[in-house]
């Protein structure tokens, strides 16, 4: 079977779309893009992360258009992205270049640079704040902090002990370096000479390159990454890591200037980063740790952590558990793929369903008729004709996908 066209009045489809847009129409002023980008930044960040496209203002527009549906917004961003040419790839940026606004290390209590909580409510109770119900204006609760920012060294307040010169102005020593200094991490190899696989341009092949795994996880759907990472922690896997650190901050985007050929910074991307330390030393001659890496656009710590768990799980090269099977993980974490396949089920499937109905009706009719053979012959004593009607043949797992014809999947 091929595709089957289903017609409907274009005007009526537009009416349905109008009805959708009418849901935003009330007596309140429309939410501005600045409000989405500022006050609902987690939502726009999720859309950018899952869309694989960093563009805060366009993400705010997408979230507004999608009426808050982050996956629909990510879909809109990917559709927009498909209309654009690529200028270039950046030189690979080192995570040490991150301007951190938050960094906590669950592994090292006395991490160089300190445990900087940054903007978070992680350590507070999850209670509804009814004070926001009739909030007149948003007030800055940090406005009266005693912060002098005009000192020559750019610092203020008491000097934190133990942070070296590098740990200034958001540049924090990566905990990986601390471990590497102890010989617990293998030195980084020579940088590869080939460009990393780009899964937006080449299909993922299995077994996948590690960079393909990282790229696909980085733009995976938050819920899927969280759920599959969680599955490993719940015993469907071997990885239960300690996080070296979780960092939130700004990563520079540098391009080659066409006149000078030097690397110049055009903007920063807001990112969340984490490294998961996995004790697999019993599997190695040289006792060292294994690691998983998580990095995603925007503030999305649970996705970054889930990504690091999945990266570490896939690196084990086992396939006993879902989280360790790269084909399973990469086939299910992409929001657009999952969204498209799940939601296509609500589109017209009339021919498919009519076919199923015909088959069921035929089987039922056959079942209702008296077996002609029985009337002529006594039952076989061996019972070999018991299953002359196999009602299971209509939808068994070995059957041709009855959905395949109409929607062409």
């Amino acid at each position: 079977m091929g595709y089957v066209a289903v017609t409907a009045g274009e005007e009526l489809i537009e009416r349905a779309a109008d009805l959708f847009d009418a849901q935003r129409a009330d007596d309140e002023p429309p939410v501005t893009l600045d409000q989405f980008d500022g006050q609902l930044a987690r939502l726009t960040a999720q859309a950018m992360s899952e869309g694989g496209l960093y563009a805060p203002r366009l993400a705010a527009l997408a979230v507004k258009q999608a009426q808050g549906d982050s996956v629909e917004a990510a879909f809109l961003l990917r559709a927009y992205r498909s209309t654009l040419e690529r200028w270039d790839e950046t030189e690979p940026v080192d995570p040490d270049e991150l301007f951190a606004t938050r960094r906590v290390s669950p592994a090292y209590k006395d991490v160089p640079g300190g445990q900087i909580l940054g903007p978070t409510k992680d350590y507070t109770q999850r209670l509804l704040d009814f004070g926001l119900v009739d909030e007149g204006t948003v007030t800055d609760p940090t406005a009266d902090w005693d912060i002098a920012t005009d000192r020559d060294d750019g610092e203020s307040g008491p000097e934190e002990p133990g942070h070296d010169e590098k740990d200034q102005r958001g540049r924090l020593t990566n905990v990986m370096q601390v471990l590497r200094d102890e010989g617990l991490v293998a030195p980084a190899g020579d940088p590869p000479t080939e460009e990393p696989v780009d899964t937006t341009r080449e299909p993922v092949t299995h077994p996948p390159e590690r960079e393909a795994v990282l790229q696909e996880l980085a733009r995976g759907e938050t819920g899927a990454i969280t759920a599959l990472g969680y599955s490993a922690l719940r015993g469907y896997g071997q990885v239960h890591p300690t996080l070296a650190e979780v960092r939130v901050g700004q990563l520079p985007v540098q391009v080659e200037h066409p006149y000078t050929s030097d690397q110049v910074r055009v903007t920063d991307t807001g990112v969340t980063e984490t490294e998961a330390i996995v004790p697999v030393y019993e599997k190695r001659d040289d006792p060292q740790f294994a690691f998983g890496y998580g990095l995603t656009f925007g503030r999305n710590e649970r996705k970054a952590i889930g990504m690091s768990v999945l990266d570490a799980s896939i690196a084990l090269k086992g396939s006993d558990e879902p989280a360790e099977d790269p084909e399973f993980v990469l086939d299910t974490v992409d929001a657009m793929d999952a969204f498209g396949f799940i939601e296509h089920l609500k589109l017209p499937h009339y021919v498919t369903f009519e076919s199923i109905l015909d088959r069921i009706r035929t089987l039922r009719d056959d079942d209702a008729e008296p077996p002609r053979a029985e009337a002529a012959e006594p039952p076989d004593a061996t019972g070999s004709n018991e299953s002359s009607i196999d009602t299971g043949s209509g939808g068994g797992p070995g059957e041709t996908d009855s959905d395949g014809g109409e929607d062409g999947e």
């Binding site: 694989g52 960093y54 563009a55 805060p56 203002r57 366009l58 654009l84 040419e85 690529r86 200028w87 270039d88 790839e89 950046t90 690979p92 995570p95 040490d96 606004t101 938050r102 209590k109 445990q115 900087i116 909580l117 940054g118 902090w145 912060i147 002098a148 920012t149 610092e155 203020s156 307040g157 934190e160 102005r169 958001g170 293998a186 190899g189 940088p191 990393p196 780009d198 590690r210 960079e211 990282l214 790229q215 980085a218 733009r219 990563l251 985007v253 200037h257 066409p258 006149y259 000078t260 910074r265 055009v266 903007t267 991307t269 990112v271 490294e275 690691f291 890496y293 990095l295 656009f297």
Partner: protein
């Protein structure tokens, strides 16, 4: 990025500067109707951000970033700019401003002053953000001995 007479610094300052400031300078420059040729139309494009993961040092593609580049020749001097996001007008204005400073336009001094002020504002904001974050630095204590 503190010297707007330097081409690299100027690129970064134009990228960080308020777009309307660039547009205002571009309008002033074009008011005298100098010869202008747009070498590259401002059009949103993509830059793939590559990151080197910190353990094996392998680069991978994190995701694409929307930028808008533009290039002009103004009175015989070429100018190039790139703005983050979808920003056609501001990118074109940035390219005009870049060419004007390169060609020592009469407004070059004012442009440089504003660009460098934008750079200082960027640094000041970074300092303030960092300082606020540093005000949340905490010591985690192990409570085992106290139990």
């Amino acid at each position: 990025m503190d010297n707007a007479y330097d081409r690299n610094d100027r690129f970064e300052l134009i990228a960080a500067c308020d777009g309307e400031t660039l547009a205002g300078f571009a309008d002033e420059i074009l008011a005298a109707e100098p010869p202008l040729r747009v070498l590259q139309e401002p059009r949103p494009q993509l830059v793939m951000q590559q990151v080197r993961e910190p353990v094996e040092g392998r680069p991978f593609n994190l995701g694409e970033v929307v930028v808008t580049p533009a290039e002009v020749r103004l009175d015989g001097e070429e100018g190039f700019a790139m703005r983050p996001g979808k920003a056609e007008r501001h990118a074109l204005s940035g390219a005009i401003v870049d060419a004007a400073v390169a060609g020592d336009h009469s407004l070059a001094g004012d442009i440089v002053t504003d660009l460098e002020a934008a750079g200082e504002a960027f640094e000041r904001e970074r300092r303030e953000t960092w300082t606020r974050s540093r005000h949340t630095t905490v010591d985690f204590d192990v409570m085992e001995d106290e139990l």
